[in-house]
């Protein structure tokens, strides 16, 4: 294996880790911190590559990709899709919290079940025997 191949593998692994971090955000202190660090690193990388655009081409060639801009495009696609997925997960989580909140309101506004249950049972007992069902319609013509 040539040095180039080794470098390729390393860079692919780095890319995969980046994708993983972006796609599966972990909540909590560690997750937030990791995401912040990655964002800062990406920002720094971006600045460096603007100052030294040749580096982008060099890295792309190492990976076997033709142009630096292609590499940028792939990286952008990964980050974008990852963001979409993370965003959707966030939305799902938020919706769940919202539902729980609405549920609490609904239940707290209603008569407690024990009390309501007793009342309903008493009401039905007072109804008396069921009314006779309607006689079947005359089917003879």
């Amino acid at each position: 294996m040539t040095a180039q191949n080794v470098f390729q593998i390393i860079l692919i692994i780095v890319f995969a880790m980046l994708a993983f971090v972006v796609i599966f955000p972990r909540s909590g202190t560690r997750g937030t911190a990791i995401r912040r660090l990655v964002s800062v690193l990406l920002l720094l990388a971006g600045i460096v590559l603007v100052v030294f655009p040749d580096w982008l081409t060099a890295i792309a060639n190492l990976l076997g990709i033709g142009r630096g801009t292609d590499l940028l495009l792939y990286a952008l696609a990964v980050v974008f899709v990852g963001h979409l997925i993370a965003s959707k997960q966030n939305q799902v989580e938020r919706n769940r919290k919202f539902t729980e909140l609405a549920r609490e309101i609904a239940i707290s506004e209603a008569t407690p079940a024990g009390e309501a249950g007793s009342r309903l049972v008493a009401e039905v007992k007072q109804l008396g025997p069921a009314p006779a069902p309607n006689p079947a319609p005359d089917t003879e013509r």
Partner: protein
Amino acid sequence: MNEDTWLVVPLYNEGTVVGDVISDARRTFPKIVCVNDGSKDNSAEVATNAGAMVVNHPINLGQGAALQTGLKYAMNDPAAQYFVTFDSDGQHGVEDASRMVQRLRTEPYDVVLGSRFLGTKVEAGALKRAVLKAAVGFERMTTGMKVTDTHNGLRALNREAVGKIRIRQDRMAHGSEFLREISKNKLRYVEEPVHIIYTDYSRAKGQSVWNSVNILADLLFG
């Protein structure tokens, strides 16, 4: 009269039929909670007048959410031992529900699931039957549960089952989630043949095949 049982009825714009459903059911199941899921019509009023306890969602959340709210509400009644999820549109039979609860009392099960395909009475159209059969296969693959009818809203559960089950799917994917929760919590379940009454009313408003796409998306993506 089942005084230890609550009927949990999700309610959304069924003002025209829910009154009859409740007045009929209450003689067997006096404790009925209707979860009004943001109905735009007079459903809540009709349900209350017919003799149900109405719990109001502040906004429309979905049938799954309404069921979970109703179950959580009913669990607060210390006298409640059994719970039946029951539709508000007249598709479910009180007799069937009664039999299912009786099975919970006498047999070693936590959940009794209604099935259209165990008995001989199947009234659904051919396409709908085909889609339901596909859902059965999917269910068997993903949860290992051997169920003949995966989207039947008539279910009887005991207190232990309701205590362990958490329905997080707000909308129509709750059917599959129920089964996953049963499987996950290793609850003892059995199927009971039931007769679903497809009236013109319910056929017109029923779950379209398109909805299956949405349900699948809900299950896969959140």
